[in-house]
Subunit: 520 residues, 2 copies
């Protein structure tokens, strides 16, 4: 059977397809095992002779810009999630494409949010063939039910940069929603009434896409400073009434938890870091987008104040907590990949030590190093982990694809990766024999912290040694799993069809796992 | 004869070789006529797996870094001129190469200065095969005398970016001297005791070279901010005692003239711009590195003060005069490609409206527009012009190659290009029937201003119209030429051999002229 021939077992024991959407894939080989060959993608050479002498690239509408960019069937179209759930442009792009009768587009967003559920109608009517990027919430359910024409491709933020840089994904038209721009195409996210912070997720798109359209609601005279996106990469500029709703940047995953259980988890995590000697003068950390992760930062600050020490840098997602640490001299720099609230936006605009970064600097695994690996500790979430410390962030235990990878995979390369997670959610244990989907290999996940105990990865003898005699509730991962199952029982496994609906790429472009259609 | 078969007449009537140093060349086709095909160069894909986990790329010496970069015979090695005549690194690189017995290197500097005359010994001993970049002073004389093994290739700053981007020049090892860096390779020119301003001339090298070495005398903890050069592109970092002498940035061409004749020229130029309606609120300008050009800025400021107006932006080379205009609110922004003195360095560090640019943003003709074309007026120098308004900046009337192109060609795309030049120098007329070397086509040169009259390019009917009745001493270029010849006589032409010693590239990579060996 062709379908069977298309499947290989990769180095972490998962069945993955080697041909998806007509493209040949490389199965995951292990951490640091895949060595890329060849050369970075080069986009088509442009010439100033083809652009206006006066530098004015303004066209009358997004539709006009898409037509001039020669929008055609089957093209790869990229948009970005700087406004998170307040994005107004992606839906508009596909509305125009649908009206123009364009079919089989590949949507290549840097992430999707609930607001993009509207695109399901364009997946249904054939305007969009498939999505390469996160497929969240309703979009994920749609994919999990097998209704998308093509196979979804999930990549981390760093993997997205890598895929563009290496030419795995060749973007035909990038549409960059920008809170401020000039008519030459220089653009930023720190100014204007729709200010969202930075535009780093669109950096690769600007550098490597064939055509680049900047859409703004705040057109200012040249030069737009800072030029987070450089006009020298931009083909067309469009002025619209509104590019995004910055108030909706603050979505579910970016509010600190109010749950006492999770606050306890966060505090336990901070205590662990303290005992392990991680919280010391000049250390660096990153707390992810989850509510618990955010709370960890709060406890870090408390410990640092008590000790009278200061962190060197924190990687954002920036939020009020990080910004306060910077203001209160607990932190020297925020190296920010994404503003998670308006405090973050304002701080990036005003504080020179709050610096915008991009997936290139922070996360790209096919660079000469990246920032994620320099961190002393990262705090991340997970939907599931397994007894081998493998982690899942994209599917739930019912098999449904509901989340994107974000920077999660990229952050695993830090010096210490900690997942503070509840032992069970809605009476479903979080620790499994096997995770539904492997998003990150266990060898990179160092510590699992639950409300009923802490499991340290046996590979981290150094951490185990440091924690000895600390009084912290250290257990094996098997003990934690059994404890959860004693309380909740062993849940039924979801029933999957053979059909692959999405694949999960590793940071190096290989396929670490696949996601099957859920039979509901 | 093979030599004769290798020569074609290009669109501006000059004999140019079509094969130089074993590479096929395209003869100049005219302004806006050459449309590039194909794709930008992609450098080899790297992986974090090959770089230190802790991001520390420090090696013990420049020699060690060159050896680890696998320095070999025939490689292309790049260095940069941010320290202008105070560069200490380029000579050191070739000293090491010579000691290692390496032969036939191509030196690809962003510019050369008197301090690089020391490299003549490595041109003689076979360490360096030829230079692609400016060949100034003694180096130029060496080339003009036919002693360099290969043929020199002259490119503008923008042409250098274009050549790297398009893959015409593939750099094997880029050595970037940086006044401040961290051990990850992030680097800048604004801090440290050797601060030189910006590192923009090394941008393309960092992006496209196979190996990148950052050499610094001020190693600071990560993160080095701003990261004008991004460590994610860097292979090795080297700490040395001293990377450059910033006091020597201020070289001959960056001091304002004290000559009353040239001050008169500068004032006349400013008056012309005023009469032509160029000096108005929100206008933009660039004054080149020459002493007269710098003085023009002084007179611009005077007129603006009188009118109570303010310029939008000036393109640097920045210097005390531009910085004072910024401070005195006569100027909104300096978009700076190169600091010409220490006032410029300090201002770039401290004033957020003094912004570093690069040949990519400012000058690259194979981009989607560039900044040079946006300028209302540029003031440039020239060694010669001819009756067709063609300009020369690289050779003197004695045929000797003595200067580089700098950003001169790139600036010609401004809305008005003015050359204020003395009618004669050392009793040699500056206006010729034919320039010794065509560096820029006359159709892009709008106005020649001499102490004895102003010639407006007949193509600029609009300017001729605006100046009518102004009382300015408007003459034809022929009148100016005759006047000079009446005073000085017609000088003897230099005698050239058949042999091509260097070629001059146009901004699009085509060959606009060639330079022959001078028979002395």
């Amino acid at each position: 059977m062709e379908k069977e021939n298309n499947i290989q077992i990769n180095a972490i024991g998962r069945e993955v397809p080697i041909n998806v959407n007509g493209k040949i894939l490389i199965p995951y080989k292990g951490v640091k095992k895949h060595k890329p060959e060849g050369f970075k993608h080069g986009s088509r050479i442009s010439t100033c002779a083809d652009f206006p002498d006066d530098g004015n690239k303004l066209v009358v509408s997004l539709k006009e810009a898409l037509i001039r960019s020669e929008l055609q069937d089957g093209m790869t179209i990229s948009t970005h999630h700087h406004f998170r759930n307040g994005d107004l442009i992606a839906n508009e792009v596909f509305k125009i494409a649908s009206e123009l009768g364009i079919k089989n587009l590949i949507w290549f967003p840097s992430a999707s949010f609930d607001c993009h559920a509207e695109l399901i109608k364009y997946l249904k009517d054939g305007t969009i063939h498939h999505i390469e990027g996160s497929m969240n919430g309703e979009l994920g359910r749609f994919v999990s039910s097998g209704k998308m024409k093509g196979v979804g491709v999930l990549r981390s933020h760093g993997g997205r940069y890598q895929a563009i840089q290496d030419g795995e994904v060749q973007i035909d038209i990038a549409i960059i929603a920008a809170p401020t721009a000039d008519n030459f195409g220089n653009a930023n996210g720190v100014s204007g009434s729709s200010a969202c912070g930075l535009l780093g997720f669109a950096l690769a798109d600007s550098q490597y896409s064939n055509k680049v359209i900047v859409v703004t609601d705040n057109l200012i005279p040249f030069p737009c400073l800072p030029w987070q996106i450089q006009g020298n990469y931009v083909d067309y500029v469009v002025k619209v009434d509104k590019v995004g709703i910055p108030e909706k940047i603050l979505s579910g995953t970016t509010q600190i938890t109010k749950s006492p259980d999770r606050l306890f988890l966060a505090e336990l995590t901070a205590r662990f870091c303290d005992q392990a000697g991680i919280i010391k003068d000049g250390f660096s950390f990153q707390a992810g987008a989850g509510g618990t992760s955010l709370a960890v930062g709060y406890y870090f600050a408390k410990i640092m104040k008590d000790k009278g020490i200061k962190a060197s840098f924190a990687r954002g997602g920036s939020n009020k907590f990080l910004v306060d640490m910077l203001k209160n001299n607990l932190l020297e720099f925020i190296l920010d990949g994404q503003t998670f609230d308006l405090d973050g936006v304002n701080s990036m605009k005003l504080n020179p030590n709050h610096v915008d970064t991009s997936p290139f600097t922070s996360y790209n695994y096919h660079g000469k190093g990246n920032f994620a690996q320099l961190l002393d500790v990262v705090i991340l979430g997970a939907t599931e982990v397994d007894v081998n410390f493998n982690g899942n962030v994209v599917t739930h235990s019912d098999g449904l694809l509901l989340h994107g990878l974000g920077g999660w995979q990229n952050c695993l390369f830090s010096k210490c990766t900690i997942l503070p997670i509840p032992l069970f959610r809605d009476r479903i244990p979080v620790i499994k024999d096997h995770v539904t989907t492997i998003c990150g290999p266990g060898e990179l996940i160092d510590v699992i912290i639950t409300e009923r105990g802490i499991a340290i990865n046996p590979l981290r003898l150094d951490l185990i040694e440091k924690i000895k005699g600390s009084g912290l509730p250290i257990k094996t991962i098997y003990q934690l799993k059994e404890e959860a199952e004693r309380i909740c029982g062993i849940p039924q496994k979801p029933i999957f069809a053979d059909e692959t609906v999405a694949i999960v790429k590793w940071v190096d472009g290989t396929v670490i796992d696949s996601i099957k259609r859920v039979i509901e």
